[in-house]
């Protein structure tokens, strides 16, 4: 048998299939079809956790996703561990391992419960008031202590080994919730031929019908009708049934996030299956059939294990065949609890008394309860309960017509069921930014004006009678299909034989006559918020519900106040004596229930987190032992260490080789754009600061692009291949930015220009061969190109062949040495690279990486966009004023350069820095000041933008942007550092071969 509290028959579980699982290390037996909650209750276990703040013993309250208390950690090992799972939603399987949270050393004896003794000091906002002094102690002492004492669950310490997938999907009608309303809507919508998705967070579809024992639909039992309806839906090719799928978020334009749980309920799941799947559904129309949540009544000591929602107890009895106790007391403000009492009694639970808040309850359900021999106490409230780890008695009080409460009796019980009526689930409607309206008669916020294309049906819009619900669902489903454009289905009316439970209820804290400062009536179980906390917040001046919520944290736990929000609102309304709709309502936000990070990440983790771009030479560099760095998405060789070399040694060697002989560098990552058309030169003139009209085909120019705001955006050399064709290079990281900017101007500002832009970054491999011997290396390899000084001067480009493949050969230098950049079709890149390396072997050709490239360019004072510039640097600031075509009437950014602030003399300007001690290498980003002894905050004149050890010069060099820097050249400034100031001398920002003699060879 699967537990002492399992009824011998009844329910939808399979008693022939026992399932063993463990909770807090103890082994239990449930049966197939159980949730962890139903299986524990079947074993008589109500105590399942300790509360957030006071470590109060807590039990199972609900039977669904609204559960505030029964949060458990699940997972046999640390990699598969998931905290804060609702026991009411966990399907058990053979070998399931679960544990309670927030207790030590054990659930029954928890040291943290000492917090109870300090309850008077732990009221709402206590940490703001108590832990004020000294200020530094908050971060070091108080916060870590509080975080350890409070909180729920622990994060798993190991990486998640599970796989998660994501899928986009489209449908005509998405129906959310497969209870009676949702099933009726899906039947009606799919009958029109519309493509319908029907999702439900539960494993089994049917919603409230799964626990309905008496009502008959179309002459069938609820269970039979449900089975027939689902079979009918499953048979339709245009219907997709999605159980175990929570619609957790509504995003603009009917885009919904659905999380499907695929393997969490399986023992030994197929490892090929993902754990969860994120459905990103674009639905033309949405039908919300999200039902309603039962609302607890709030009274003193209402949080003991064994105190549950009446409807939840009915679900455990009817659907799971579980008796949640032996002797029950019911505390209610509505008829549905009578229905629950009758079902529980017929399942075998003794009902000791029904305390009804209403003065004169009547009607068919009350009559039936009385006829069944139940004691109904009218105008009666619960004034308190006893029992440490499980309720053992209830104190009742008589509610007088004047609102006074007088103690009446104490009743022994092990189960107290409460019901304050039902709250429509408007979470998703609210997320869709629909406007809610308050219905006085129903005491509920209902969907009002829609923003998105959706409609609500059934209990989520305040319709509770089963027949009306089915017919409302039908109307909603066919209405949605019609709105999509399908011909409406014939209206169908369902006949239900069953009695409505009406819509009575109560919101707020029930009268209890106790001293409010001594009693503890819990409003929000998950965040441990009491009646007193809310009243204290109001006494302290908080009026808006948004403020009360944040101050007391009511409704801010992982359940987002599913069971508590309305009662908190009711209490504020009662206390302020202000109508409830005037108190307002807090906003619902995604996700509806906690959703794993994994499903949002999907496959975007590890190597798949970001694309990796590799050049054709990448594998060669790997084989040579290169160390790589990331530059935007590219992997670039940083340096090529020989055995025993560190970066410094490798870079010194690479620099020397390039300056003295020849180096080879992979420049493939440079952005490349082909600009073609009759107006290509005109576009170049308008985009770049430079003048292009005079550049002849076969020549190259260094170009600068500004933003319209006048600041340097990108740079690079540009070759004119033909009168109507330019080969642009950009920085590695700026390629797409430049192309987008040029496209923008071409498409929107100058659509009349005849010019076409094509990204050719991936088309060319670029092999940079630099150094005094570079010509000697390349000469034997090229065909049809004369590399001589006379025929191919610095800053020229030739087309021809190298190693038999077509090339655009640039004579250009970012090192200050004689140099060439060999562009070949990317597919030939590796072969040509290896051929050049082989040809260069005799000359000592040395591969170098980005670090050496940087040192060599800094020695020459060449800037790097993004290093010497930061979006506030003009061409003049960084010494590029010479690139501006003076005769040009306009180019992007030109007008901004004429603004007074852009021409001010004290702007930060690029200078070179030489440390007085040549061995000291400055830190990039360090500040430059005049007097290091001035008081803090110092007047900062500028900062170091680049700093390297120059092997060529055998000393450190640096570039810096310094206020009025050019007028300070020759003077000394200081770079204050933690170890003391470093004296620097300002020099021209070029350290090597200032005349450029080495280029002209």
């Amino acid at each position: 048998m699967s537990g002492r509290f399992r009824a011998p028959s009844g329910g939808r579980v399979d008693r022939a299939k026992p399932v063993r699982f463990s909770f807090d290390g103890q082994s239990y037996q449930g049966v197939a079809g159980d949730t962890l909650a139903s299986a524990l209750l079947a074993n008589g276990v109500h105590l399942v956790g300790r509360s957030f703040k006071y470590h109060r013993p807590r039990g199972i309250v609900t039977a669904g996703s609204d559960e505030p208390n029964a949060l458990v950690g699940v997972g046999a090992d640390d990699a598969h561990y998931t905290p804060n799972m609702r026991a009411t939603q966990i399907e058990i399987y053979e070998g399931l391992v679960a544990e309670s949270q927030n207790r030590w050393p054990s659930l029954r004896f928890d040291v943290g419960a000492i917090n109870e003794a300090f309850a008077p000091f732990l009221s709402a906002g206590f940490y703001y008031k108590t832990f004020m002094w000294p200020p530094a102690a908050w971060k070091r002492i108080y916060e870590p202590l509080i975080r350890r004492a409070a909180g729920l669950g622990r994060a798993p310490a190991k990486p998640d080994p599970d796989r998660y997938t994501q899928v986009y999907a489209h449908c005509d009608v998405l129906v959310i919730g497969a209870g009676p309303a949702g099933m009726a809507a899906a039947l009606a919508a799919s009958a029109t031929g519309a493509r319908v998705f029907l999702c439900d967070e539960q494993a089994e579809m049917g919603g409230s019908l799964l626990s309905e024992k008496t009502a008959m639909i179309e002459g069938q039992s609820a269970g039979d009708w449900t089975a027939g309806a689902l079979a009918g839906l499953a048979a339709r090719a245009n219907v997709t049934l999605m159980p175990r799928t929570t619609a957790f978020g509504w995003y603009p334009h009917n885009f919904l996030g659905l999380c499907e749980r695929i393997t969490d309920h399986l023992a030994g799941a197929d490892p090929k299956l993902p754990r969860e799947r994120l459905w990103q559904v674009r639905a033309t129309e949405v039908v919300l059939a999200t039902g309603a949540l039962e609302r607890p009544l709030v009274f003193p000591d209402n949080d003991r294990p064994g105190i549950m929602m009446a409807e939840a107890a009915r679900i455990y009895a009817n659907r799971f065949g579980v008796l949640p106790g032996n002797t029950a007391v019911i505390f209610t403000a509505c008829d549905s609890a009578y229905r629950a009492a009758l079902d529980l009694k017929s399942a075998g639970v003794a009902v000791a008394a029904i305390a009804d808040l209403r003065a004169a309850p009547g009607g068919v359900w009350v009559d039936r309860a009385r006829a069944a021999g139940m004691e109904v106490r009218e105008a009666t409230v619960v004034t308190g309960t006893t029992g440490r780890l499980r309720i053992d008695s209830v104190n009742l009080g008589k509610l007088g017509p004047d609102g006074r409460v007088s103690a009446s009796e104490t009743i022994a019980c092990d189960l107290l069921l409460t019901s304050g009526g039902f709250t429509p689930s408007v979470h998703l409607f609210s997320q869709s930014r629909g406007k809610l309206v308050y219905d006085e008669a129903l005491r509920a916020f209902l969907p009002g004006t829609s923003v998105e294309r959706e409609r609500s049906v059934g209990a989520c819009r305040g319709i509770f009678d089963l027949e009306a619900v089915l017919n409302d669902g039908t109307a909603g489903g066919s209405g949605a299909a019609e709105a999509v454009g399908f011909a409406g289905a014939a209206g169908r009316a369902f006949a239900v034989d069953g009695d409505s439970v009406g819509s009575d209820g109560f919101i707020g804290v029930t009268p209890h006559g106790g001293d409010p400062s001594r009693t503890r009536a819990w409003i929000d179980f998950q965040n441990d918020v009491t009646e007193n906390d809310v009243k204290l917040a109001i006494r302290e001046g908080f009026r808006s519900i948004e403020h009360v919520k944040r101050y007391t944290t009511t409704g801010m736990a992982t359940d987002q106040g599913k069971t508590s929000n309305m009662n908190a609102l009711g209490l504020v309304s009662q206390t302020l004596k202000r109508p409830l709709p005037q108190v307002g309502l807090t906003t619902f936000r995604p996700p509806y229930t906690p959703t794993t990070f994994g499903v949002f990440a999907g496959q975007s983790r590890g190597d798949l987190f970001d694309p990796v771009r590799k050049t054709p030479v990448h594998d060669w560099a790997v084989a040579q032992g290169a160390v790589f760095e990331n530059v935007s998405l590219w992997k670039r060789a940083h340096y090529f260490p020989k055995p025993g070399e560190d970066m410094h040694a490798a870079v010194v060697r690479e620099c020397r080789a390039t300056r003295q002989a020849v180096g080879i560098f992979d420049a493939t990552t440079l952005g490349k754009i082909e600009v073609v058309g009759k107006d290509a030169a005109e576009l170049m003139n308008r985009i770049y600061t430079n003048s292009w009209a005079t550049l002849e085909p076969g020549r190259i120019r260094y170009g600068v692009i500004l933003g319209e705001n006048g600041f340097v955006m990108d740079d690079g050399v540009v070759g004119r291949m033909a009168p109507d064709r330019f080969h642009i290079t950009t920085t590695t990281g700026g390629a797409s930015r430049v192309l987008t900017m040029m496209e923008d101007y071409v498409q929107t500002e100058w659509p009349n220009l005849d010019v076409w832009l094509t990204s050719t970054t991936e088309e060319w491999a670029v092999i940079s061969v630099q150094g005094p011997l570079s010509r000697k290396v390349l000469e034997p390899l090229v065909e049809g190109i004369d590399l001589s000084r006379a025929s191919m001067p610095h800053m020229s480009v030739r087309e021809g062949k190298i190693c038999g493949v077509p090339t655009r050969l640039f004579r250009v230098s970012f090192t200050g040495e004689l140099g060439f950049e060999v562009n070949v079709p990317a597919g030939y890149g590796r072969a040509v690279w290896e051929a050049i390396v082989a040809a260069g072997h005799a000359y000592g050709i040395t591969p170098y990486g980005t670090e050496t490239m940087h040192v060599l360019r800094a020695e020459k004072g060449f800037i790097v966009v993004g290093q010497e510039t930061d979006g506030t640097v003009t061409p003049d600031d960084c010494g590029l004023g010479w690139t501006i075509g003076k005769a040009k009437k306009d180019f992007v950014g030109k007008r901004s350069l004429a603004r007074p602030a852009m021409m001010a003399g004290d702007r930060k300007q690029l200078v070179g820095l030489l440390t007085v001690d040549p061995k000291t290498v400055l830190e990039v980003g360090a500040q430059v000041v005049a007097d290091p002894n001035q008081p803090i905050p110092m007047i900062m004149l500028g900062h170091v933008t680049s700093s390297y050890w120059s092997a060529t010069l055998n000393r450190s060099i640096a570039l810096a942007l310094v206020r009025g820097g050019r007028t300070r050249i020759g003077t000394r400034l200081s770079v204050p550092m933690p170890d003391g100031p470093i004296a620097v001398e300002l020099v021209e920002p070029i350290f090597y071969d200032p005349k450029g003699a080495r280029l002209d060879v």
Binding site: Y168, Y251, P252, H253, N254, F255, Q280, R282, R433, V451, E708, N709, T740, E743, D744, Q747, T748, E749, P751, K889, D890, K894, R895, S896, A898, R899, P900
Partner: protein, 100 residues
């Protein structure tokens, strides 16, 4: 995720697009003739309305073209989309579509 109607390709998911800021801010034909204040207005000042906003989008992972959209910044409702260079369409009184 918005569903954006590209005037050239039809409705597509937002992740195919990149945002391009406020629409109908034409670059002055002769910037040199503009005084500093007007130039700063052109560069930096934007309307940032609560309500219907004319804005540029580019169908980056589609046709690659820039176009304009009228989007309500409160509800995200898109009332119109039209090719770059066309004037902003007038909305019908209910604000839901264009007056044709």
């Amino acid at each position: 995720m918005l569903l954006i109607p590209c005037p050239h390709c039809g409705p597509r998911a937002e992740l195919e697009f990149s945002y391009g800021g406020e629409a109908h801010i034409a670059r002055p034909v002769d910037p040199a003739s503009i005084d500093d204040d007007s130039w700063v207005t052109f560069l930096y000042e934007r309307s940032n309305p609560r309500g219907v906003h004319a804005e540029r989008w580019r169908h980056l992972h589609g046709c690659g073209r820039f176009f304009n959209v009228l989007r309500d910044t409160v509800s995200d409702t898109i009332a119109a989309s039209y090719p770059a260079g066309q004037p902003r369409p007038a909305l019908s009184p209910d604000g839901k579509g264009t007056k044709r």
